[in-house]
């Protein structure tokens, strides 16, 4: 939480010497509060002032990067409690847990699942971002062997090393220190030893405590030991506790600038039943978990969870859009069909996907409707016959095709008559309502 001008003023020299370029210290303080000036401009600012103001300027939830290279993931650095207040910035990191007792075949299958987890949704590539190696055996050598299996099998994927035993973590991190892993976890019992490893290896460190008071104490202790990149686990495992505890953490950090809890949260919604696990994980996605460790990552489950994450993390002010254009789908030729849709990413990608499925090469005219879906744009008066006619006429599409037939979405069938009037010489054909009707529709014509 930012400081007010008056609060900042209290920490300035109050000499009104003007060296900062402002008439008074108070005027300068106001500029600082509005983030229109930097404290550097005051040569006489005390060390204390720099410290206090520096801390206040730091984001309320520290941003932390796990992993290295192009698959490193950033987490934390959020500034609001509700997405409509601004937006959620760094999408939840999904990790799959591999127990060291699963070494060999079972681990290999999960590693493979992570590597093939990528799906393309509305133009974004979504995937399982991390692997958590879990010390189940208590045997450092066994743990290290699975870490090695992960490092070799899924190079680049971010790693979480999970054990309460510093010796086990040492054995694991020796194999992946260059990957900036996340260590899970420091507890009241092992804090010194874990902090030492995290500092030495420049790794981030998760804190595990039973409840928020214990977590606060542990956070202050580990921070005092010199580790800055922390992640929090207050021990919530049931959905109710997740909502409550994560909300308190987020609120304390954002509304009270309570530093000990100003870090990303890690959740373990693991359940024996996979649908139950998906439900608990969904609560984490919506309610402030920055990292979620799952027991299993079946494709259907990740499709649902990654889609939810994408929904929750889109910018509420700006629908995802694609550029207005005449797109070629497949090897479209002069006689290939021409269809029109809006530039809402979701509409475009769904329609494009179905046209691709049909294997009928086509032209897809995408009209700028400020990112509204077909029906929404129509209801808002932005997908009207005159606008469509103007767009088609000015698009130059006539140079690419040797026919004059335009296929419109079934939901706006009502436009066809007026469109034929506004586009003289054109034939308007009403397509199916849902895009999933397109393959049979297009094949039947071809």
């Amino acid at each position: 939480m930012a400081l007010s001008g008056v609060e900042i003023f209290k920490h300035l020299p109050k000499t009104n010497c003007k060296k900062c370029g402002h008439p008074t210290c108070l005027a300068f303080a106001m500029k600082l509060a509005a983030k229109q000036a930097s404290l550097d401009a005051c040569p006489d600012a005390s060390e204390d002032a720099k410290k206090v103001l520096g801390e206040a300027a730091a984001p309320p939830i520290r941003g932390i990067t796990i992993g290295a290279g192009d698959k490193a993931v950033k987490t934390g650095d959020e500034i609001c409690l509700f997405r409509h207040e601004k937006k959620f910035f760094n999408p939840t990191v999904f990790a799959v847990a591999i127990k060291d007792t699963e070494a060999g075949e079972a681990a290999a299958r999960k590693i493979e699942a992570v590597k093939t987890s990528e799906i393309d949704r509305v133009g974004q590539k979504l995937r399982v971002d991390a692997i958590a190696v879990i010390d189940e055996s208590g045997d450092a050598a066994k743990f290290a062997s699975v870490v090695k299996q992960v490092v070799d099998g899924a190079p680049g994927v971010a790693i979480i090393l999970a054990s309460k035993n510093p010796a086990v973590i040492e054995a694991g991190i020796a194999l992946c220190a260059d990957k900036k892993p996340l260590i899970y976890a420091a507890t009241a019992e092992n804090a010194e030893a874990m902090a030492k490893i995290a500092k030495e290896k420049k790794a981030s460190l998760a804190l595990s405590a039973d409840g928020l008071d214990a977590l606060t104490a542990l956070s202050e202790k580990v921070k005092g030991l010199g580790v800055d990149d922390l992640v929090l686990d207050p021990g919530a495992r049931k959905a109710k506790d997740m909502v409550e505890q994560y909300t308190i953490i987020r609120r304390a950090a954002i509304k009270k600038n309570f530093k000990p809890l100003g870090y990303p949260v890690i959740a373990f919604p693991g359940r024996g039943d996979s649908v139950s696990e998906a439900m608990a994980a969904s609560i984490g996605v919506m309610k402030y978990a920055s990292i979620i460790v799952l027991n299993t990552i079946e494709k259907w489950k990740m499709l649902a969870l990654l889609s939810l994450r994408q929904n929750i993390y889109t910018d509420p002010q700006v629908p995802m859009q694609v550029a207005q254009n005449i797109y070629k789908v497949g090897d479209a030729k002069e006689n290939s069909p021409l269809m029109i849709t809006t530039n809402f990413s979701l509409s475009y990608f769904i329609v494009r996907g179905e046209v691709e499925n049909s294997k009928v090469p086509s032209w897809l005219a995408v009209m700028d409707n400020e990112g509204l879906s077909v029906l929404t744009a129509w209801a808002a008066g932005k997908f009207t016959a005159s606008r469509i006619a103007q767009f088609i006429a000015e698009s130059g599409v006539e140079k690419s095709i040797n026919h004059k037939e335009l296929i419109i979405p079934g939901y706006v069938a009502i436009l066809s008559g007026t469109l034929e009037e506004k586009l003289p010489g054109w034939k308007i054909t009403v397509g199916p309502r849902e895009a999933n009707g397109l393959p049979s529709f297009l094949k039947a014509r071809a």
Binding site: I248, R251, K256, M279, I283, M286, K299, L308
Partner: protein, 313 residues
């Protein structure tokens, strides 16, 4: 530094709305804090889960959900009983057959089905029109009269027909579902219009319009969050009606619940995928603040009831 739990001070509270009659009556609403934050408010009632049935066979529902309904879909009364036996808190009868593009069934036929269904179960009944604003006025009027005394939720009253639909609910002592289109102000506006015509605000259930996971869910999610904040933090009496979400109708038409495994191997198995789609959509609406859900797949509804129990603690 000790942690002082940062609590919100809520000045408002959601109305308690009772549906049904007798031992199986269900009350929704009553929350005095944002969803599931029991450390700073009370949640006297858990969110209710209704299973949807129709006056016609579910022929155009996707295979996965049709299979889950099984033979029960052939008769509305049997289907309703099936929902009750499968743990539904309520039954939602959608009179889809009355839609002019469907079977264009008459209001009298619809009323007969509504009465049969009401007689077949003792859990509360939600009666929905086909969504054809004009036809719904006659259909809902007849259905409301035929189920008088059952304390049903009748809907949906929309901008175009709210006067008639509300009058039907009022005349027969039912509650009302009022649907607006994904906009906080429109939702409030409809509640104001209803109260201005004399419909008690404590008898309204607000439907802010649902959308499916991956298909605009985030819009509904944020609209509900904002409605709840206005109700509790700003103490806006026009926003304090419970919220309901029509989940199944939105979910069971998207590609993710229909595409066979072979077409989209990267999406995983259809059965699990389809069920998860309804479950995660429902979880989203609950987390935002929904007090009542209408779902289609009994298995998905069962799972969501499990989640509700876990959230209520």
């Amino acid at each position: 530094m000790a942690l002082v739990i940062p609590k919100e001070t809520y000045s408002g509270k959601i109305y308690n709305v009772q549906l049904g009659a007798g031992a199986k009556a269900v009350t929704i609403g009553g929350a005095s804090a944002l969803p599931f934050l029991a450390f700073e408010g009370a949640f006297p009632n858990k969110p209710a889960v209704a299973l949807e049935i129709m006056d016609i066979a579910p022929d155009d529902w996707p295979e996965t959900v049709k299979k889950a309904v099984g033979g029960a879909g052939a008769s509305p009364a049997k289907w309703a009983k099936f929902c009750q036996d499968n743990g539904a808190d309520m039954v939602a009868l959608r009179l889809m057959g009355t839609h002019p593009d469907q079977q264009n069934k008459s209001a009298e036929e619809a009323a007969k089905v509504a009465a049969e269904v009401a007689a077949a179960v003792d859990i509360p009944l939600i009666i929905l029109g086909s969504g054809h604003a004009e036809k719904d006025t006659q259909v809902l009027q007849a259905a409301a009269a035929a189920t008088r005394g059952k304390n049903c939720a009748i809907g949906k009253a929309v901008e175009e027909n709210y006067k008639t639909v509300a009058a039907a609910a009022m005349a027969n002592d039912h509650k009302l579902i009022a649907m607006s289109q994904l906009d906080v102000n429109l939702a409030k506006q409809l509640n104001i219009l209803l109260t201005q015509m004399g419909f008690a605000k404590e008898r309204i259930i607000m439907d802010p319009m649902s959308s499916a996971l991956g298909y605009g869910l985030e819009y509904t999610y944020s609209v509900i969050e904002r409605i709840r904040q206005a109700a509790l933090l700003q103490n806006d009496p026009m926003m304090q009606t419970p919220v309901m979400c029509d989940i199944g109708a939105n979910v069971w038409k998207v590609k993710e619940v229909m595409a066979p495994d072979a077409d989209v191997p990267e999406w995983g198995g259809l059965e699990d995928r389809a069920l998860a789609w309804e479950v995660i959509t429902a979880s989203g609406m609950l987390t935002a603040g929904a007090d009542m859900l209408i779902m289609r797949h009994p298995g998905a509804a069962g799972k969501i009831k499990e989640l509700i129990a876990e959230l209520m603690g």
